[in-house]
Every structure is written in structure tokens, then in C-alpha cells.
Symmetry: C2
Subunit: 297 residues, 2 copies
């Protein structure tokens, strides 16, 4: 991992908390052993259930508890059951669905105890805005962050569940083109990772332009576009390992020399010159730039 090409030359300045937990952000449609991954037949790099098997491998402790959170989904019962089934097939006996559908549910204190017992958490897909507006500012989210900071838990999310893990969070694009100013909506994500915008179904839905618009408004943040059946595993709060059959796209705007994003009105096309883009595949490594920046609250 220390060989990643952009590895920081020096450790971050000042005191800083290095999370003991791991994050697994999945671009959607990860193979669940049911043949739904699109390129299963064509792609010789395809490995059955590769990403979810890695999640299971990372679970620590005896008889580890996996908590599935289907809150993003509009069909939470089905969505929760799908993951219970696949984790059981992968040998995890202890799987529990945390069926939180409203903010009132999330504020119930008993869920904190469940999170404190979990070895792994899995956020399903759906609508990422449900996750932030329901979990934001709750003791439950704070309990997850404490587990992530101080224990070896793994927190995973797919599709909307991945988009919500970092901040800023892209939650709605009015067109998939995204080249019109104002097409992309951002808010604060769940903030397990900062200064990173994660977008999913990235190549399948042609989202690089909407990602670039998000980055152009503040190039302090980088964009990570996850293709379907492809994931990033983040350790120590910033070391990235790519896992899966597809690519991830890193959009780095720090070198942008010119952009018109502040000169134009909503509805006009935006431009940006000097973007850096990396396409990374299975086993590739990358350091998130904010890893070596000064850490402010």
C-alpha cells in the first residue's frame, strides 16, 4: 500500500485521529451469486460475489454480527431480506436488519446498543437523501462514527449507501448529462470520509460530467466514481484499495486553472480546464489527498 503512486510524503500535521475501522463503498449491483452483475459473462476479471466475500473476510471476532440497514430503500423489507440471504449463504450466521424508516425510528435509543455489538454494517441502495435526512445529527450516527474511529468495524454501503458515506454527497441530478449549471444537488453526507464525493453506477449512467460540476464548485474535494460491481476499501481514513470487476474514476480538480462556474447563471453550460483523471482497477491503490492535509474540526 505504501507504494501507491500518490502516497503522502509526510504524515498529516498536528494531532489526528486515524480511524481503526474500514469503509467499503460499492458502486451498486455487486454480484450476490444470483447472476445479476452485468458483465459476468464478458469480463474475464469477474469473480463471483468478490466484493461481498471481502466484506465477510474483514469481519472481526467470533460469530460476528452484521447489521443491514435498508433505510435508503423504498422497499426496505425486500432489500433487507436480500442481504440477510446473501450473507447467510456466505457463512455469516448472525445477521440482523435494522428497519429504520423514519427519523423518529432513528432517534430510538435501542439501536445504539445494536450498533455497539456489530462487527459490520451494510447500508443498502435506494435514495441517499433518506440516509442523511434520517440519520444526520442522531446519537445513532454518532455511535457508528465512534465505532468506526475506535474499533475494527467495517461499514459498507452500495449505490445510495455508498454515495452517503462521504461528504459532499451528490443526491440528485436533473439530467444525467450534468453539464448545465445547477443540474447537480449536493448536501453533507454521513461524513465517514470528508472532502470526497462518491458517485455510483458511474460509467453505466455516464456521470463524469455531473461529478466534475460538483468538484468545480470546490476543488478541495475529489470525486470518486464507482462502476457497478466495483468497490473501494478505505483504511486509516484515506488509503484506498480497488476491488471488483470494473473501474473506479478519480476526478481531481486541484489543478484546475480556469472555470466559469461562478460567472454563469443556472441553466448555462459550465467549463473547467486542467482536471486530472485516474482510472483504477482491481487491486490498484490510491491515497485520498485530504489524508495529508491539516485536520480541522
Amino acid at each position: 500500500m505504501a507504494d501507491a503512486k500518490n502516497a503522502p510524503k509526510q504524515p498529516p500535521k498536528g494531532s489526528r485521529l486515524i480511524p481503526k475501522g474500514k469503509l467499503l463503498a460499492i458502486g451498486g449491483k455487486e454480484d450476490k451469486g444470483q447472476g445479476q452483475a452485468q458483465d459476468k459473462d464478458q469480463n474475464i476479471n469477474f469473480v463471483d460475489e468478490q466484493i461481498l466475500k471481502r466484506f465477510v473476510t474483514e469481519l472481526k471476532g467470533d460469530n460476528p454480527l452484521v447489521v443491514v440497514i435498508p433505510t435508503a430503500s423504498q422497499e426496505p423489507v425486500q432489500s433487507g431480506q436480500d442481504y440477510v440471504q446473501v450473507f447467510q449463504q456466505l457463512g455469516v450466521a448472525n445477521v440482523q436488519v435494522m428497519d429504520i424508516r423514519t427519523r423518529r425510528d432513528a432517534l430510538q435509543p435501542e439501536h445504539v446498543e445494536t450498533v455497539n455489538q456489530a462487527a459490520g454494517i451494510m447500508f443498502t441502495g435506494g435514495d441517499q437523501l433518506r440516509l442523511t435526512s434520517i440519520f444526520g445529527g442522531t446519537d445513532l450516527l454518532e455511535a457508528m462514527k465512534e465505532r468506526y474511529a475506535f474499533t475494527n468495524i467495517i461499514i459498507a454501503g452500495t449505490s445510495a449507501g455508498a454515495a452517503a458515506m462521504s461528504t459532499p454527497m451528490i443526491y440528485e441530478g436533473e439530467s444525467d448529462g450534468g453539464y448545465i449549471k445547477g443540474d447537480v444537488r449536493l448536501t453533507t453526507g454521513l461524513e465517514f470520509l470528508k472532502d470526497v464525493a462518491i458517485d455510483t453506477h458511474f460509467l453505466a449512467r455516464g456521470r463524469i460530467v455531473r461529478m466534475t460540476q460538483a468538484i468545480a464548485t470546490n476543488p478541495e474535494c475529489i470525486g470518486i466514481g464507482l462502476e457497478e460491481d466495483t468497490a473501494i476499501l478505505v483504511t486509516e481514513g484515506g488509503k484506498v484499495e480497488v476491488i471488483g470487476s470494473g473501474l473506479i474514476t478519480v476526478v481531481d480538480g486541484m489543478g484546475i486553472t480556469e472555470t466559469n462556474i461562478f460567472d454563469i447563471q443556472n441553466g448555462e453550460p459550465f467549463t473547467a480546464k486542467g482536471l486530472k483523471v485516474h482510472l483504477l482497477g482491481d487491486k490498484d491503490e490510491y491515497f485520498i489527498p485530504s489524508y495529508s492535509r491539516v485536520q480541522l474540526k
Copy 2:
């Protein structure tokens, strides 16, 4: 300060960097001794140049350098000169304008040296999106953050300059009403302060609803609305003191029990129940809730 009603009961968990610098976020139209503050005649709490005098009082060192950054403004020469004049009237001999108009300007390394010599920095008003898209991801912004983290610099901003200091940053509302989903645009701010959205001209332009929409999308963040000629001085990264002739409005969504923000389409009115609102005036104190949360990168 330890008497603020919401003072944290325990220090933040884990290692954390407590910034040595201070932030001064001003709601716009601070009195500059030229009679432009709106309520100068009617408001018996009005004090001539109260906020800018406080900025000057907080400058440390002999012959302190104040750097004025007019980048947000579309009339940067005039805007810079206004502040040079008022600071000189207030007895600061050493005032310099850092006339950065593009991202290419911001990437020039000589500005880092100027920031490293500054005792105070003042961001003028204008358009906050210029600030984030021009300074985001630059070594210059990182130098300011290092000065803020490790030295007793004071970093101030008025209007757009205040809105950009924290993250998330509200940068455009299509209506001042803000009750229609999608009316409010957010991006990542300059991040001197996190999980706080600052809005300005707050009562003068009736912005509480658009602030609430921003908070409803993720109640992990609080909103601070600054009225004109009113400011917050932030020390230790989270202790707030109110300064000025008007009020600040704190919008705390952590107790929201119900919202429809994720169930509706753009263009529909949103609702939220259970907001907590504080109106605070000169000398009042407040702790930003994230001050006592676990700190992740």
C-alpha cells in the same frame, strides 16, 4: 464562556486539534464609520464600527499585517480599497490587498508567504462560489488552515466571505422563500468550520426557510443566520460569541422527528417538524454541537 447553556458536558473523544486561531463571520453591512448600517439611528445597541474594531483588537504582534482578499467581489479594486481605508482609520498601518481574481492567480506560490506573515485576513463580500471554486484545493488555502490551526491569526469574512468560511456552504437560492425543494444550492465551503451552514443578511432577506431546507437534508449540520452588522467570533473551533447590533439565528435540526424532504420531487414544498431555534444577541455565547462530537478526517 463556560457558562453557555449548551456547553459540552465532556471534552471531545479521541485526539483532536483545537485551532489556536479565531474566526470572525460577519452578516454583511458591518458599520465602517460611514453611516451605512441600516439601524444605526433606531437601535440603541448600535456601536460605531463595533465589529471591525473587535477584529483589530484581536490582531496579535507588533505592526500586525492585515491581508484583505476581495476575490468574492466583482469589483475587487473598490472592495479592497474600502477595507484598506477603514482598517487604516482604525489604526492598522500595515494593510495589503491580495488581488486574486482567478484560480490561476491563486495557484501562484508567492501568496503563501504573504499568508504566513499575516496577523489577520479579511474576506470581502461578493459571491461565495468564487471563493470556493478559486481557493479550493490550493496550497494557499492549506496555508491559511495551517495558520488557523497552529497560530493566533484571526480570519474574518463578511457576507459571501462569511458564508464561505464553514461547510456546507449555501451559494444560491432561486427564491428568497426557499420552501420549494431544490431552491437551495449547497457545496463544500472553505471548511474552517464544519457541520455549520452560515447564511447572511438573514433577517433582512427572510432566509430562515431556505436555511431550514439545507438543514433538513442533513440535520448533522446546524444553521447560523447572521443579521447585518452582526457577527460571530469563534474560538477553539466551536465556542461562539455574538458581536454586533443585531441577532443571530441558530437553526438546530437534530430533534426533527418528521420531514418529507426525501419523499417529494424538486418543485414541491417541503415540511419539517421539531426544529429548535435560538435567537442570540451581543455577548451571548453558544457551543457548536459538532465541538463535542468524535472528529473524523
